[in-house]
Protein backbone atom coordinates (compact mmCIF):
# COMPACT_ATOMS: atom_id res chain seq x y z
CA UNK A 1 0.00 0.00 0.00
CA UNK A 2 1.41 3.36 -0.94
CA UNK A 3 2.11 6.23 1.44
CA UNK A 4 -0.58 8.35 -0.22
CA UNK A 5 -3.27 5.77 0.48
CA UNK A 6 -2.07 5.33 4.08
CA UNK A 7 -2.36 9.06 4.70
CA UNK A 8 -5.90 9.09 3.24
CA UNK A 9 -6.91 6.14 5.40
CA UNK A 10 -5.49 7.78 8.51
CA UNK A 11 -7.38 10.95 7.68
CA UNK A 12 -10.60 9.00 7.17
CA UNK A 13 -10.12 7.22 10.50
CA UNK A 14 -9.48 10.51 12.35
CA UNK A 15 -12.56 12.04 10.73
CA UNK A 16 -14.73 9.07 11.68
CA UNK A 17 -13.55 9.09 15.29
CA UNK A 18 -14.08 12.83 15.55
CA UNK A 19 -17.64 12.64 14.22
CA UNK A 20 -18.59 9.78 16.56
CA UNK A 21 -16.55 10.62 19.66
CA UNK A 22 -15.53 14.28 19.44
CA UNK A 23 -14.66 14.43 23.18
CA UNK A 24 -11.58 12.34 22.43
CA UNK A 25 -10.11 15.43 20.81
CA UNK A 26 -11.04 17.78 23.67
CA UNK A 27 -7.45 18.12 24.95
CA UNK A 28 -6.29 19.24 21.52
CA UNK A 29 -9.03 21.81 20.93
CA UNK A 30 -8.72 23.05 24.53
CA UNK A 31 -5.46 24.63 23.37
CA UNK A 32 -7.53 27.15 21.40
CA UNK A 33 -10.05 28.09 24.06
CA UNK A 34 -9.82 30.81 26.68
CA UNK A 35 -11.44 31.34 30.06
CA UNK A 36 -12.74 27.75 30.27
CA UNK A 37 -14.94 27.92 27.18
CA UNK A 38 -16.05 24.45 25.93
CA UNK A 39 -13.46 22.99 23.51
CA UNK A 40 -15.93 20.75 21.64
CA UNK A 41 -19.23 21.69 20.03
CA UNK A 42 -21.92 19.57 21.70
CA UNK A 43 -25.13 21.53 20.99
CA UNK A 44 -25.96 19.08 18.22
CA UNK A 45 -24.69 15.69 17.17
CA UNK A 46 -21.73 16.22 14.80
CA UNK A 47 -22.33 12.99 12.91
CA UNK A 48 -25.92 13.86 12.08
CA UNK A 49 -24.84 17.38 11.04
CA UNK A 50 -22.20 15.89 8.74
CA UNK A 51 -24.65 13.40 7.26
CA UNK A 52 -27.24 16.10 6.60
CA UNK A 53 -24.53 18.34 5.16
CA UNK A 54 -23.52 15.61 2.73
CA UNK A 55 -27.11 14.72 1.89
CA UNK A 56 -27.70 18.33 0.76
CA UNK A 57 -24.47 18.30 -1.26
CA UNK A 58 -25.18 14.95 -2.93
CA UNK A 59 -28.77 15.90 -3.80
CA UNK A 60 -27.74 19.26 -5.24
CA UNK A 61 -24.83 17.84 -7.25
CA UNK A 62 -26.91 14.93 -8.54
CA UNK A 63 -29.54 17.37 -9.73
CA UNK A 64 -26.91 19.63 -11.29
CA UNK A 65 -25.30 16.63 -13.00
CA UNK A 66 -28.53 15.45 -14.56
CA UNK A 67 -29.43 18.92 -15.82
CA UNK A 68 -25.93 19.99 -16.93
CA UNK A 69 -25.05 16.71 -18.66
CA UNK A 70 -28.50 16.64 -20.23
CA UNK A 71 -28.08 20.18 -21.56
CA UNK A 72 -24.60 19.48 -22.87
CA UNK A 73 -25.76 16.30 -24.60
CA UNK A 74 -28.67 18.21 -26.12
CA UNK A 75 -26.64 21.09 -27.53
CA UNK A 76 -23.99 18.76 -28.96
CA UNK A 77 -26.67 17.09 -31.13
CA UNK A 78 -26.61 18.51 -34.67
CA UNK A 79 -30.16 19.92 -34.63
CA UNK A 80 -29.80 21.65 -31.27
CA UNK A 81 -26.48 23.43 -31.60
CA UNK A 82 -28.21 26.82 -31.82
CA UNK A 83 -29.13 26.44 -28.15
CA UNK A 84 -25.50 26.29 -27.08
CA UNK A 85 -25.12 30.05 -26.36
CA UNK A 86 -28.32 30.06 -24.32
CA UNK A 87 -27.34 26.99 -22.28
CA UNK A 88 -23.89 28.38 -21.67
CA UNK A 89 -25.36 31.68 -20.52
CA UNK A 90 -27.72 29.90 -18.11
CA UNK A 91 -24.90 27.86 -16.63
CA UNK A 92 -22.77 31.00 -16.33
CA UNK A 93 -25.46 32.91 -14.48
CA UNK A 94 -25.78 29.99 -12.07
CA UNK A 95 -22.08 30.26 -11.37
CA UNK A 96 -21.68 34.01 -11.15
CA UNK A 97 -24.72 34.79 -9.00
CA UNK A 98 -23.34 34.59 -5.43
CA UNK A 99 -24.78 31.67 -3.45
CA UNK A 100 -25.41 33.94 -0.49
CA UNK A 101 -27.64 36.10 -2.70
CA UNK A 102 -29.46 33.01 -3.89
CA UNK A 103 -30.08 32.11 -0.26
CA UNK A 104 -31.41 35.57 0.46
CA UNK A 105 -33.76 35.41 -2.51
CA UNK A 106 -34.87 31.83 -1.89
CA UNK A 107 -35.76 32.18 1.78
CA UNK A 108 -38.87 34.32 1.20
CA UNK A 109 -40.06 31.80 -1.38
CA UNK A 110 -39.08 28.56 0.34
CA UNK A 111 -38.76 29.49 3.99
CA UNK A 112 -35.89 28.56 6.31
CA UNK A 113 -34.38 25.06 6.19
CA UNK A 114 -32.54 22.89 3.68
CA UNK A 115 -34.40 24.14 0.58
CA UNK A 116 -32.62 27.45 -0.18
CA UNK A 117 -29.17 25.86 0.31
CA UNK A 118 -30.11 23.05 -2.04
CA UNK A 119 -31.08 25.56 -4.73
CA UNK A 120 -27.94 27.63 -4.24
CA UNK A 121 -25.63 24.62 -4.50
CA UNK A 122 -27.52 23.25 -7.47
CA UNK A 123 -27.15 26.52 -9.41
CA UNK A 124 -23.53 26.92 -8.38
CA UNK A 125 -22.72 23.38 -9.52
CA UNK A 126 -24.13 23.57 -13.04
CA UNK A 127 -21.31 25.36 -14.83
CA UNK A 128 -18.29 23.09 -14.16
CA UNK A 129 -20.29 20.00 -15.08
CA UNK A 130 -21.76 21.62 -18.17
CA UNK A 131 -18.42 22.90 -19.44
CA UNK A 132 -16.59 19.65 -18.77
CA UNK A 133 -19.30 17.61 -20.47
CA UNK A 134 -19.11 19.95 -23.47
CA UNK A 135 -15.32 19.48 -23.58
CA UNK A 136 -15.61 15.73 -23.21
CA UNK A 137 -18.24 15.34 -25.89
CA UNK A 138 -16.59 17.65 -28.40
CA UNK A 139 -13.10 16.17 -28.16
CA UNK A 140 -13.81 12.54 -28.94
CA UNK A 141 -11.40 10.90 -31.39
CA UNK A 142 -13.03 11.37 -34.81
CA UNK A 143 -12.01 7.93 -36.05
CA UNK A 144 -13.80 6.32 -33.12
CA UNK A 145 -17.01 8.21 -33.83
CA UNK A 146 -16.69 7.44 -37.50
CA UNK A 147 -16.23 3.76 -36.66
CA UNK A 148 -19.32 3.84 -34.44
CA UNK A 149 -21.37 5.27 -37.30
CA UNK A 150 -19.80 2.86 -39.76
CA UNK A 151 -20.73 -0.12 -37.57
CA UNK A 152 -24.35 0.95 -37.80
CA UNK A 153 -24.95 2.33 -34.31
CA UNK A 154 -28.00 4.56 -34.05
CA UNK A 155 -27.54 8.08 -32.64
CA UNK A 156 -28.78 6.92 -29.26
CA UNK A 157 -26.52 3.86 -29.23
CA UNK A 158 -23.55 6.04 -30.11
CA UNK A 159 -24.34 8.40 -27.27
CA UNK A 160 -24.68 5.69 -24.61
CA UNK A 161 -22.14 3.19 -25.84
CA UNK A 162 -19.38 5.41 -27.16
CA UNK A 163 -19.66 9.15 -26.53
CA UNK A 164 -20.65 9.23 -22.85
CA UNK A 165 -18.31 6.40 -21.76
CA UNK A 166 -15.38 8.05 -23.53
CA UNK A 167 -16.21 11.49 -22.12
CA UNK A 168 -16.82 10.06 -18.65
CA UNK A 169 -13.42 10.88 -17.08
CA UNK A 170 -13.78 14.53 -18.14
CA UNK A 171 -17.42 14.70 -17.01
CA UNK A 172 -16.42 13.24 -13.65
CA UNK A 173 -13.79 15.96 -13.37
CA UNK A 174 -16.61 18.50 -13.58
CA UNK A 175 -18.70 16.65 -11.02
CA UNK A 176 -15.68 16.56 -8.73
CA UNK A 177 -15.22 20.33 -8.97
CA UNK A 178 -18.88 20.98 -8.27
CA UNK A 179 -18.93 18.55 -5.36
CA UNK A 180 -15.88 20.02 -3.68
CA UNK A 181 -17.21 23.55 -4.09
CA UNK A 182 -20.59 22.45 -2.77
CA UNK A 183 -19.07 20.79 0.30
CA UNK A 184 -17.46 24.03 1.42
CA UNK A 185 -20.24 26.33 0.21
CA UNK A 186 -22.90 24.30 2.04
CA UNK A 187 -21.56 25.74 5.32
CA UNK A 188 -23.23 29.09 4.60
CA UNK A 189 -26.56 27.26 4.54
CA UNK A 190 -26.51 27.38 8.32
CA UNK A 191 -27.24 31.09 8.15
CA UNK A 192 -30.72 30.19 6.91
CA UNK A 193 -31.20 27.22 9.24
CA UNK A 194 -30.06 24.40 6.99
CA UNK A 195 -28.52 21.72 9.21
CA UNK A 196 -24.95 21.70 7.95
CA UNK A 197 -21.52 21.73 9.50
CA UNK A 198 -21.60 25.50 9.07
CA UNK A 199 -23.55 25.51 12.34
CA UNK A 200 -20.33 24.71 14.25
CA UNK A 201 -18.44 27.54 12.59
CA UNK A 202 -21.22 30.05 13.17
CA UNK A 203 -21.48 29.00 16.80
CA UNK A 204 -17.77 29.70 17.06
CA UNK A 205 -18.20 33.12 15.48
CA UNK A 206 -21.09 34.05 17.77
CA UNK A 207 -19.35 32.91 20.98
CA UNK A 208 -15.89 33.98 19.87
CA UNK A 209 -14.69 30.37 20.22
CA UNK A 210 -11.77 29.59 17.90
CA UNK A 211 -11.91 25.89 18.79
CA UNK A 212 -15.42 25.62 17.27
CA UNK A 213 -14.43 27.48 14.11
CA UNK A 214 -11.38 25.29 13.77
CA UNK A 215 -13.19 21.98 14.21
CA UNK A 216 -15.98 22.97 11.83
CA UNK A 217 -13.43 24.05 9.23
CA UNK A 218 -11.25 20.98 9.67
CA UNK A 219 -14.15 18.54 9.36
CA UNK A 220 -15.45 20.21 6.18
CA UNK A 221 -11.93 20.43 4.77
CA UNK A 222 -11.19 16.78 5.51
CA UNK A 223 -14.41 15.63 3.85
CA UNK A 224 -13.69 17.79 0.78
CA UNK A 225 -10.14 16.47 0.43
CA UNK A 226 -11.23 12.84 0.77
CA UNK A 227 -14.08 13.21 -1.72
CA UNK A 228 -11.76 15.04 -4.13
CA UNK A 229 -9.17 12.27 -3.97
CA UNK A 230 -11.82 9.60 -4.39
CA UNK A 231 -13.00 11.25 -7.59
CA UNK A 232 -9.46 11.66 -8.91
CA UNK A 233 -8.76 7.98 -8.31
CA UNK A 234 -11.94 7.01 -10.15
CA UNK A 235 -11.18 9.32 -13.09
CA UNK A 236 -7.65 7.93 -13.35
CA UNK A 237 -8.87 4.38 -13.36
CA UNK A 238 -11.31 5.11 -16.15
CA UNK A 239 -8.82 6.94 -18.36
CA UNK A 240 -6.17 4.32 -17.78
CA UNK A 241 -8.57 1.60 -18.80
CA UNK A 242 -9.21 3.45 -22.05
CA UNK A 243 -5.48 3.93 -22.60
CA UNK A 244 -5.52 7.68 -22.03
CA UNK A 245 -3.76 7.75 -18.68
Amino acid sequence: MSMAILIRLAMLALLAVFLVQPEVFAPFFALFTTRGAPPIYVQSDLLSLALNHMAIVVTAVLGATVIAVGLAVLVTRPNWSEFLPLSRALANIGQTFPPIAVLALAVPAMGFGNGPTLVALFLYGLLPIFENTMTGLSNLPPTVQEAARGMGMSDRQRLWQVELPLAMPVILGGVRLSTVIAISTATIGSTVAARTLGEVIIAGLLSNNIAFILQGGLVVGAIAVLVHDGFVALERRMSRRAGQG
Binding site: P141, T143, V144, G150, G152, P165, L166, G243
Partner: protein, 311 residues
Protein backbone atom coordinates in the same frame (compact mmCIF):
# COMPACT_ATOMS: atom_id res chain seq x y z
CA UNK B 1 -22.39 -7.01 -56.82
CA UNK B 2 -21.86 -3.33 -56.16
CA UNK B 3 -22.84 -0.86 -58.86
CA UNK B 4 -21.90 2.79 -58.59
CA UNK B 5 -23.78 4.90 -61.10
CA UNK B 6 -22.66 8.47 -61.82
CA UNK B 7 -21.72 9.11 -58.21
CA UNK B 8 -20.91 12.71 -57.43
CA UNK B 9 -20.12 14.44 -54.17
CA UNK B 10 -19.89 18.20 -53.92
CA UNK B 11 -18.69 19.96 -50.76
CA UNK B 12 -19.34 23.70 -50.71
CA UNK B 13 -19.15 23.99 -54.50
CA UNK B 14 -16.05 21.81 -54.74
CA UNK B 15 -16.58 18.53 -56.56
CA UNK B 16 -14.54 15.94 -54.67
CA UNK B 17 -16.01 12.90 -56.42
CA UNK B 18 -16.97 13.54 -60.00
CA UNK B 19 -19.42 11.32 -61.88
CA UNK B 20 -17.88 7.95 -60.95
CA UNK B 21 -19.44 4.79 -62.36
CA UNK B 22 -18.11 1.29 -61.84
CA UNK B 23 -19.25 -2.23 -61.09
CA UNK B 24 -17.63 -4.62 -58.65
CA UNK B 25 -18.55 -8.28 -59.03
CA UNK B 26 -19.39 -10.43 -56.05
CA UNK B 27 -16.42 -12.14 -54.45
CA UNK B 28 -13.91 -9.83 -56.08
CA UNK B 29 -11.50 -7.29 -54.67
CA UNK B 30 -11.52 -3.81 -56.12
CA UNK B 31 -8.70 -1.52 -55.05
CA UNK B 32 -9.01 2.24 -55.24
CA UNK B 33 -5.70 4.02 -55.67
CA UNK B 34 -4.83 7.68 -56.10
CA UNK B 35 -3.00 10.60 -54.58
CA UNK B 36 -3.99 12.15 -51.27
CA UNK B 37 -7.19 14.15 -51.55
CA UNK B 38 -8.29 12.48 -54.79
CA UNK B 39 -11.60 11.44 -53.24
CA UNK B 40 -10.92 7.78 -52.42
CA UNK B 41 -12.27 7.87 -48.88
CA UNK B 42 -15.26 9.93 -49.93
CA UNK B 43 -16.09 7.42 -52.67
CA UNK B 44 -15.77 4.53 -50.22
CA UNK B 45 -17.96 6.21 -47.60
CA UNK B 46 -20.73 6.81 -50.06
CA UNK B 47 -21.08 3.03 -50.37
CA UNK B 48 -22.16 2.69 -46.72
CA UNK B 49 -23.74 6.15 -46.74
CA UNK B 50 -21.43 7.69 -44.19
CA UNK B 51 -21.35 10.31 -46.92
CA UNK B 52 -24.56 11.20 -48.70
CA UNK B 53 -23.99 11.39 -52.48
CA UNK B 54 -24.87 14.73 -54.09
CA UNK B 55 -26.13 12.77 -57.06
CA UNK B 56 -25.95 9.29 -58.51
CA UNK B 57 -27.03 5.87 -57.30
CA UNK B 58 -25.52 2.88 -55.56
CA UNK B 59 -27.00 -0.57 -56.06
CA UNK B 60 -26.03 -3.57 -53.99
CA UNK B 61 -27.18 -6.83 -55.57
CA UNK B 62 -29.59 -4.73 -57.59
CA UNK B 63 -31.11 -3.01 -54.57
CA UNK B 64 -30.76 0.73 -54.28
CA UNK B 65 -28.98 1.52 -51.00
CA UNK B 66 -30.88 4.75 -50.44
CA UNK B 67 -34.02 2.64 -49.89
CA UNK B 68 -32.47 0.95 -46.83
CA UNK B 69 -32.18 2.76 -43.46
CA UNK B 70 -28.55 3.87 -43.09
CA UNK B 71 -27.87 2.04 -39.83
CA UNK B 72 -29.27 -1.18 -41.25
CA UNK B 73 -27.19 -0.88 -44.40
CA UNK B 74 -24.06 -0.30 -42.32
CA UNK B 75 -24.65 -3.38 -40.20
CA UNK B 76 -24.62 -5.40 -43.42
CA UNK B 77 -21.39 -3.86 -44.72
CA UNK B 78 -18.10 -4.37 -42.90
CA UNK B 79 -16.06 -1.20 -42.50
CA UNK B 80 -12.39 -1.13 -41.56
CA UNK B 81 -11.67 2.52 -41.04
CA UNK B 82 -8.50 4.49 -41.87
CA UNK B 83 -6.48 4.28 -38.61
CA UNK B 84 -8.45 1.29 -37.20
CA UNK B 85 -10.87 3.34 -34.98
CA UNK B 86 -11.14 0.73 -32.24
CA UNK B 87 -13.26 1.74 -29.25
CA UNK B 88 -10.58 2.54 -26.65
CA UNK B 89 -12.88 1.83 -23.69
CA UNK B 90 -13.83 -1.65 -24.82
CA UNK B 91 -11.85 -4.88 -24.75
CA UNK B 92 -10.74 -6.55 -27.97
CA UNK B 93 -13.54 -9.08 -27.62
CA UNK B 94 -16.21 -6.40 -27.11
CA UNK B 95 -14.84 -4.42 -30.04
CA UNK B 96 -15.07 -7.40 -32.36
CA UNK B 97 -18.54 -8.23 -31.08
CA UNK B 98 -19.92 -4.74 -31.78
CA UNK B 99 -22.05 -5.43 -34.84
CA UNK B 100 -23.28 -8.88 -33.72
CA UNK B 101 -24.42 -7.20 -30.48
CA UNK B 102 -26.20 -4.47 -32.45
CA UNK B 103 -27.88 -7.22 -34.44
CA UNK B 104 -29.06 -8.85 -31.21
CA UNK B 105 -27.11 -12.10 -31.40
CA UNK B 106 -27.11 -14.35 -28.32
CA UNK B 107 -24.14 -13.93 -25.95
CA UNK B 108 -22.84 -17.45 -26.58
CA UNK B 109 -22.94 -17.01 -30.33
CA UNK B 110 -21.08 -13.68 -30.11
CA UNK B 111 -18.42 -15.20 -27.85
CA UNK B 112 -17.90 -18.11 -30.23
CA UNK B 113 -17.67 -15.75 -33.21
CA UNK B 114 -15.16 -13.52 -31.46
CA UNK B 115 -12.89 -16.47 -30.70
CA UNK B 116 -13.25 -17.79 -34.23
CA UNK B 117 -12.16 -14.44 -35.69
CA UNK B 118 -9.27 -14.03 -33.26
CA UNK B 119 -8.07 -17.45 -34.36
CA UNK B 120 -8.49 -16.56 -38.01
CA UNK B 121 -6.29 -13.49 -37.55
CA UNK B 122 -3.64 -15.35 -35.61
CA UNK B 123 -4.44 -13.82 -32.23
CA UNK B 124 -4.70 -16.40 -29.44
CA UNK B 125 -8.23 -15.85 -28.02
CA UNK B 126 -7.31 -16.62 -24.40
CA UNK B 127 -4.55 -14.05 -24.55
CA UNK B 128 -6.17 -11.27 -26.55
CA UNK B 129 -9.91 -11.42 -25.89
CA UNK B 130 -9.83 -9.35 -22.73
CA UNK B 131 -7.04 -6.97 -23.61
CA UNK B 132 -7.73 -3.31 -24.18
CA UNK B 133 -6.88 -1.85 -27.61
CA UNK B 134 -4.01 0.25 -26.26
CA UNK B 135 -2.37 -2.93 -25.03
CA UNK B 136 -1.89 -4.14 -28.62
CA UNK B 137 0.79 -3.39 -31.20
CA UNK B 138 -0.18 -1.34 -34.26
CA UNK B 139 -0.34 -4.46 -36.41
CA UNK B 140 -2.54 -6.26 -33.91
CA UNK B 141 -4.88 -3.27 -33.63
CA UNK B 142 -5.18 -3.26 -37.38
CA UNK B 143 -6.08 -6.94 -37.44
CA UNK B 144 -8.67 -6.47 -34.71
CA UNK B 145 -10.13 -3.61 -36.77
CA UNK B 146 -10.53 -5.92 -39.77
CA UNK B 147 -11.85 -8.74 -37.57
CA UNK B 148 -14.45 -6.34 -36.17
CA UNK B 149 -15.49 -5.39 -39.69
CA UNK B 150 -15.98 -9.07 -40.55
CA UNK B 151 -17.74 -10.05 -37.33
CA UNK B 152 -21.30 -10.30 -38.57
CA UNK B 153 -20.23 -12.07 -41.76
CA UNK B 154 -20.94 -9.20 -44.17
CA UNK B 155 -20.99 -9.87 -47.91
CA UNK B 156 -19.17 -6.62 -48.47
CA UNK B 157 -16.10 -5.27 -46.74
CA UNK B 158 -14.93 -1.69 -47.14
CA UNK B 159 -11.34 -1.06 -46.14
CA UNK B 160 -9.72 2.37 -45.98
CA UNK B 161 -5.93 2.05 -46.06
CA UNK B 162 -6.13 -0.89 -43.66
CA UNK B 163 -2.39 -1.55 -43.79
CA UNK B 164 -1.23 2.04 -43.87
CA UNK B 165 0.36 2.01 -40.44
CA UNK B 166 2.27 -1.24 -40.83
CA UNK B 167 5.95 -1.83 -41.53
CA UNK B 168 6.73 -3.50 -44.89
CA UNK B 169 7.17 -7.01 -43.51
CA UNK B 170 4.01 -7.08 -41.38
CA UNK B 171 2.24 -5.35 -44.23
CA UNK B 172 3.10 -8.09 -46.72
CA UNK B 173 1.95 -10.69 -44.19
CA UNK B 174 -1.30 -8.81 -43.57
CA UNK B 175 -1.96 -8.62 -47.31
CA UNK B 176 -1.37 -12.36 -47.70
CA UNK B 177 -3.68 -13.04 -44.76
CA UNK B 178 -6.38 -10.85 -46.24
CA UNK B 179 -6.16 -12.65 -49.59
CA UNK B 180 -6.35 -16.04 -47.88
CA UNK B 181 -9.32 -14.99 -45.77
CA UNK B 182 -11.05 -13.45 -48.76
CA UNK B 183 -10.60 -16.62 -50.79
CA UNK B 184 -12.00 -18.65 -47.91
CA UNK B 185 -15.11 -16.57 -47.19
CA UNK B 186 -15.67 -15.00 -50.59
CA UNK B 187 -16.36 -11.47 -49.36
CA UNK B 188 -16.53 -8.66 -51.90
CA UNK B 189 -13.87 -6.15 -50.86
CA UNK B 190 -13.38 -2.51 -51.76
CA UNK B 191 -9.97 -1.43 -50.54
CA UNK B 192 -8.52 2.08 -50.63
CA UNK B 193 -4.76 2.49 -50.76
CA UNK B 194 -2.01 4.98 -51.57
CA UNK B 195 0.26 2.23 -52.67
CA UNK B 196 0.27 1.06 -56.28
CA UNK B 197 2.03 -2.19 -55.34
CA UNK B 198 -0.72 -2.99 -52.87
CA UNK B 199 -3.39 -2.09 -55.40
CA UNK B 200 -1.82 -4.41 -57.96
CA UNK B 201 -1.17 -7.35 -55.69
CA UNK B 202 -4.60 -7.34 -54.05
CA UNK B 203 -7.03 -6.12 -56.69
CA UNK B 204 -8.93 -8.09 -59.29
CA UNK B 205 -9.63 -4.63 -60.62
CA UNK B 206 -7.98 -1.32 -59.86
CA UNK B 207 -9.75 2.02 -59.85
CA UNK B 208 -7.36 4.92 -60.38
CA UNK B 209 -8.65 8.24 -59.04
CA UNK B 210 -7.34 11.74 -59.60
CA UNK B 211 -9.02 14.95 -58.48
CA UNK B 212 -12.32 13.22 -57.93
CA UNK B 213 -12.45 11.56 -61.32
CA UNK B 214 -12.15 7.87 -62.09
CA UNK B 215 -9.37 7.69 -64.69
CA UNK B 216 -9.39 3.95 -65.26
CA UNK B 217 -11.03 0.86 -63.83
CA UNK B 218 -9.41 -2.30 -65.09
CA UNK B 219 -7.54 -5.47 -64.09
CA UNK B 220 -3.92 -4.94 -63.01
CA UNK B 221 -2.41 -6.35 -66.22
CA UNK B 222 -4.46 -3.89 -68.29
CA UNK B 223 -3.57 -0.95 -66.09
CA UNK B 224 0.12 -1.78 -66.39
CA UNK B 225 0.10 -2.59 -70.10
CA UNK B 226 -2.36 0.03 -71.27
CA UNK B 227 -2.49 2.93 -68.82
CA UNK B 228 -5.47 5.04 -69.80
CA UNK B 229 -3.93 8.44 -69.10
CA UNK B 230 -0.47 9.92 -68.50
CA UNK B 231 -1.39 10.17 -64.81
CA UNK B 232 -2.00 6.42 -64.57
CA UNK B 233 1.23 5.79 -66.44
CA UNK B 234 3.13 8.01 -64.03
CA UNK B 235 1.55 6.24 -61.06
CA UNK B 236 2.79 2.89 -62.34
CA UNK B 237 6.24 4.22 -63.14
CA UNK B 238 7.73 3.28 -66.52
CA UNK B 239 10.87 1.68 -65.09
CA UNK B 240 8.85 -0.65 -62.87
CA UNK B 241 6.40 -1.79 -65.54
CA UNK B 242 8.11 -5.05 -66.59
CA UNK B 243 8.57 -6.09 -63.00
CA UNK B 244 5.00 -5.25 -62.07
CA UNK B 245 3.84 -7.46 -64.95
CA UNK B 246 6.03 -10.28 -63.68
CA UNK B 247 4.74 -9.87 -60.14
CA UNK B 248 1.24 -10.68 -61.39
CA UNK B 249 2.23 -14.18 -62.44
CA UNK B 250 2.96 -17.36 -60.57
CA UNK B 251 5.91 -19.57 -61.43
CA UNK B 252 3.61 -22.59 -61.72
CA UNK B 253 1.99 -21.16 -64.85
CA UNK B 254 5.36 -20.86 -66.63
CA UNK B 255 6.88 -24.26 -65.91
CA UNK B 256 8.53 -26.20 -68.73
CA UNK B 257 10.26 -29.58 -69.05
CA UNK B 258 14.02 -29.89 -69.02
CA UNK B 259 17.10 -29.91 -66.84
CA UNK B 260 18.14 -27.26 -64.34
CA UNK B 261 20.53 -27.16 -61.43
CA UNK B 262 20.88 -25.32 -58.15
CA UNK B 263 18.33 -24.59 -55.42
CA UNK B 264 14.70 -25.08 -56.44
CA UNK B 265 12.06 -22.32 -56.63
CA UNK B 266 8.58 -22.84 -55.24
CA UNK B 267 5.83 -23.17 -57.85
CA UNK B 268 3.64 -20.67 -55.96
CA UNK B 269 6.32 -17.97 -55.86
CA UNK B 270 5.62 -14.99 -58.09
CA UNK B 271 7.49 -14.65 -61.35
CA UNK B 272 9.24 -11.48 -60.25
CA UNK B 273 10.81 -13.23 -57.28
CA UNK B 274 11.88 -16.13 -59.54
CA UNK B 275 13.44 -13.74 -62.06
CA UNK B 276 15.32 -11.94 -59.31
CA UNK B 277 16.63 -15.27 -58.04
CA UNK B 278 17.85 -16.32 -61.50
CA UNK B 279 19.56 -12.96 -62.06
CA UNK B 280 21.18 -13.02 -58.67
CA UNK B 281 22.46 -16.60 -58.88
CA UNK B 282 23.57 -16.14 -62.52
CA UNK B 283 21.50 -19.11 -63.73
CA UNK B 284 19.58 -19.44 -67.00
CA UNK B 285 17.14 -21.89 -65.43
CA UNK B 286 16.14 -23.24 -62.03
CA UNK B 287 14.27 -26.37 -60.95
CA UNK B 288 10.73 -25.82 -59.67
CA UNK B 289 9.13 -27.80 -56.91
CA UNK B 290 5.62 -27.93 -55.59
CA UNK B 291 4.96 -29.32 -52.15
CA UNK B 292 8.60 -30.51 -52.08
CA UNK B 293 8.30 -32.59 -55.29
CA UNK B 294 10.09 -31.52 -58.51
CA UNK B 295 7.64 -30.44 -61.22
CA UNK B 296 9.95 -29.04 -63.95
CA UNK B 297 12.02 -25.93 -64.48
CA UNK B 298 11.64 -22.21 -65.04
CA UNK B 299 13.87 -20.31 -67.49
CA UNK B 300 14.98 -16.72 -67.79
CA UNK B 301 13.68 -16.65 -71.36
CA UNK B 302 10.20 -17.68 -70.26
CA UNK B 303 10.19 -15.08 -67.53
CA UNK B 304 11.49 -12.34 -69.85
CA UNK B 305 8.76 -12.98 -72.36
CA UNK B 306 6.23 -12.36 -69.58
CA UNK B 307 7.84 -9.03 -68.76
CA UNK B 308 7.26 -7.65 -72.26
CA UNK B 309 4.38 -5.38 -73.08
CA UNK B 310 1.43 -7.60 -74.00
CA UNK B 311 0.07 -7.13 -77.51
Amino acid sequence: MIELQSLTKIYDGVTVVDDVSLTINSGEIATIVGTSGSGKTTLLRMINRLVQPSSGRILIDGEETSSIPAYELRRRIGYAIQGHGLFPHRSVGRNIGTVPRLLGWKQARIAARVDELLDLFGLEPGEFRDRMPHELSGGQQQRVGVARALAAGPNILLMDEPFGALDPIIRAKAQDDLLAIQRRIGTTIVLVTHDMNEAISLGHNIAVMDQGRLLQFAPPADIIARPGTPFVEALIGSEDRPFRMLALQRVRDLIEKGPASGPAIDAWANARAAYAELLWSGREAAPVQEGGAPVGRITRAALQSQAEKPV
